[in-house]
């Protein structure tokens, strides 16, 4: 039983031929191929799958209720005991809290980047494709966003709209709009010079069809890398906001909140902060490796052996 078998069985039976936004369906095959031949891609996929699944199935998998204060406080990690990762200052099981925390942290992380990516990429595509005044208008607006420190914007947005899952997600994602816009625009500027956009026009495609069918699929590779890097960053950002007490909700277990709660006990009970810290680090690394594999899968010129 190897990793590649696992991956293949996970995806078996889903090779229909259809396309979304000009992105090919054989993407999946390429992706599996990449994971098969690349150790780093395997590691990335495993880490993302492990954390993702434990987040999704936390209510079934977690040994205890993350809020229940039923154990002795500040128990150190002991793999053989009832609390393999120890307990916190209220006697709550850290493993359960970590699994539930993954739900919020990963969801906010992915959601925030998706929000920033969708808006940013749209701005970048239109600014780059049309140029001129549209470009000036959109990109100057983006520059204004860029001029503010993200934390300040996030704190301001949370202060105005209040805490909560969606608000925190938007507050974090807002800061990524400009990066995605700038990257997408740069790609479009290069692709606009390629004759196939002219050819698409001469074939009779409308501007929006050219943007989404011809231009966008060719900007995807660097955007995917950006997406994964920023997902990692967004998880850290959520941790930062939770640490400052501006996160989802003070009592909700998220990785950042766990880390923050442990700081008062760092000398007596290091595990309360360190374990969520390690979880964040491993996830961030795993997502980056996963993103590299995804980017390779998007490269149609990648023929097999590397």
């Amino acid at each position: 039983m190897s990793v590649s078998d696992l991956v293949e069985s996970a995806f078996s039976g889903s090779s229909e031929s259809g396309k979304t936004f000009g992105i090919r369906s054989d993407l999946l095959e390429r992706f599996i191929k990449t994971i098969r031949r690349d150790l780093r891609a395997k590691i990335g996929f495993l880490v993302v799958a492990l954390f993702g699944l434990s987040a999704i199935f936390a209510p079934m998998l977690a040994p205890y209720d993350p809020m229940s204060q039923q154990f002795p406080i500040l128990m150190p990690p002991d793999p053989l005991s009832a609390n393999p990762l120890g307990t916190d200052s209220f006697g709550r099981d850290l493993l359960s809290r970590l699994m539930y925390g993954a739900r919020i942290s990963l969801a906010v992380g992915l959601g925030a980047v998706t929000f920033g990516a969708v808006l940013g990429i749209l701005i970048g595509l239109f600014a780059g494709y049309y140029g001129g005044y549209i470009d000036d208008l959109l990109m100057r607006a983006v520059d204004v966003m860029w001029a503010f420190p993200w934390l300040l914007i996030a704190i301001m947005l949370v202060a105005i709209f209040g805490q909560g899952f969606w608000n925190v997600m938007v507050a974090i994602g807002f800061a990524y709009i400009d990066d995605f816009a700038r990257l997408a625009r740069g790609e479009v500027l290069a692709i606009r010079e390629e004759e196939y956009t002219m050819a698409a026009k001469s074939v009779g495609l409308e501007d929006y069809e050219i943007i989404f069918e011809e231009v966008f699929p060719n900007t995807v590779a660097p955007l995917i890398v950006q997406f994964t890097i920023f997902t990692a960053r967004a998880i850290l950002a959520e941790s930062t906001l939770s640490f400052l007490g501006l996160g989802v909700k003070p009592t909700t277990p998220t990785w950042g909140a766990l880390l923050g709660q442990g700081r008062g006990f760092i000398t007596q009970a290091w595990w309360i902060s360190i374990i969520p810290g390690i979880a964040i680090m491993v996830t961030v690394l795993g997502i980056n490796l996963f993103g590299d594999a995804l980017r390779d899968a998007f490269d149609v010129k990648e023929t097999g052996q590397t």
Binding site: R140, E195, M198, A200, S202, G204, K301
Partner: protein
């Protein structure tokens, strides 16, 4: 199949051909395309505009089933002319008539209908094919866009088109990077052919290819012209390439046509000093005795700030006097030799109004260029 297209094309125009002298398929009058020079935000705000005069007043006509070769140095505006004629660029000024209709301001449905009748073949066959689409998708796209065929009918038509341009239909699921340059250009031709256009604007279709492949592509284009009754505007920087395909040739310099005429006349009896220098630049294997080579110095002047008077006066080996700098010569009929047709051979040079003997005395080409 091909004969069917042929007849349908001729039917719609009442069987006119290059020889009949009827209404041309394509004609442009005073066509201009100027581009704004890339400027900073502030310059644009204060309206300090500079313009590249890429195409600067071009008149031309093209008859049904005719091939017009457009030649000139890089940067003379020939590609821009092609893209403006096909309405890929908006003309800055002037009119374009296609098939009896004014198309320089066509929009929406009319523009889409035009896209079906006028197709473009591009210079760089790799750059003109989307690297993320299979060649089958690329060739099938125009069929879907113009509701010509869908589903199985589309697949069949794509296979036919592949065969028509000399590619195996089995290759249709491959990506452009898996093909050679010549094969890619065949894909580009198949895409242009898919909508059964009346006019194809070929923008240096062979200049990125090996010489041996150039001949194959040119022969393919000639065969397709016969079969489908196509008209071509064939853009190239190489006179020897256009010689084989063109019925007529237009020579461009700095956004203007400086000489035009039947291919034979242009080669055997060129009238404009610029055409002569282009012809002199064609390498010769035999090394004809007595042929004088004249090299043009430097680069063409900037199209941002074109010279006054005749655009060629700054480099002209047959420069006359101040008139060249003051007045722009108009294209006018010239009679170069007994067999040339003065109605069709025109040139824009002040020598046209002067004494031929004086010219022969001064010209570095002597009296018998090309003859």
């Amino acid at each position: 199949m091909s004969s069917q297209f042929e007849s349908s094309v001729t039917d719609t125009t009442g069987g006119q051909s290059a020889e009949s002298g009827g209404e041309p398929l394509l004609s442009a009058k005073g066509l201009k395309k100027h581009f704004p020079v890339e400027q900073s935000f502030l310059d644009r705000l204060f309206g300090d505009d500079e313009w590249v005069h890429a195409v600067d007043g071009v008149d031309l006509t093209l008859a049904e089933r005719e091939t017009l070769g457009v030649v000139g140095e890089s940067g003379c505006g020939k590609s821009t002319l092609g893209r403006t004629l096909s309405r890929l660029y908006e003309p800055t000024a002037g009119t374009i008539h296609f098939d009896g209709e004014e198309i320089s301001d066509a929009e929406g449905d009319r523009l889409k209908a035009l896209r079906k009748d006028v197709q473009v073949i591009f210079q760089d066959p790799l750059s003109s094919l989307n690297p993320r689409k299979t060649v089958g998708e690329i060739v099938g796209k125009p069929l879907a866009v113009h509701d010509i065929a869908t589903g199985e009918a589309k697949d069949e038509r794509v296979a036919e088109l592949f065969e028509e341009v000399g590619l195996s239909p089995d290759l249709r699921d491959r990506y452009p990077h898996e093909f050679s340059g010549g094969q890619r250009q065949r894909v580009g031709i198949a895409r242009a052919l898919a909508v059964e256009p009346k006019l194809i604007i070929a923008d240096e279709p062979v200049s990125a290819l090996d010489v041996s492949v150039q001949a194959q592509i040119i022969n393919l284009m000639k065969r397709l012209q016969q079969e489908y009754g196509l008209s071509y505007v064939f853009i190239a920087h190489d006179l020897s390439v256009v010689r084989h395909v063109s019925d007529r040739i237009a020579v461009m310099y700095l956004g203007k046509i400086v000489e035009e005429g039947p291919t034979h006349d242009i080669f055997e009896a060129p009238a404009h000093p610029y055409t002569k220098s282009l012809l002199a630049a064609i390498p010769s294997i035999t090394g004809e005795m007595g042929r004088r080579t004249v090299h043009l110095d430097g680069n063409p002047p900037s199209p941002i700030d074109p010279p006054s008077g005749c655009p060629f006066h700054t480099r002209c080996p047959e420069y006359i006097d101040e008139e060249c700098e003051a007045d722009e010569p108009a294209l006018q009929p010239v009679e170069q030799s007994a067999e040339s047709d003065p109605e069709r051979h025109r040139s824009a040079c002040h020598w046209n109004d002067r004494d031929e003997a004086d010219r022969a005395a001064q010209s570095p080409y002597g009296n018998d260029v090309g003859g």
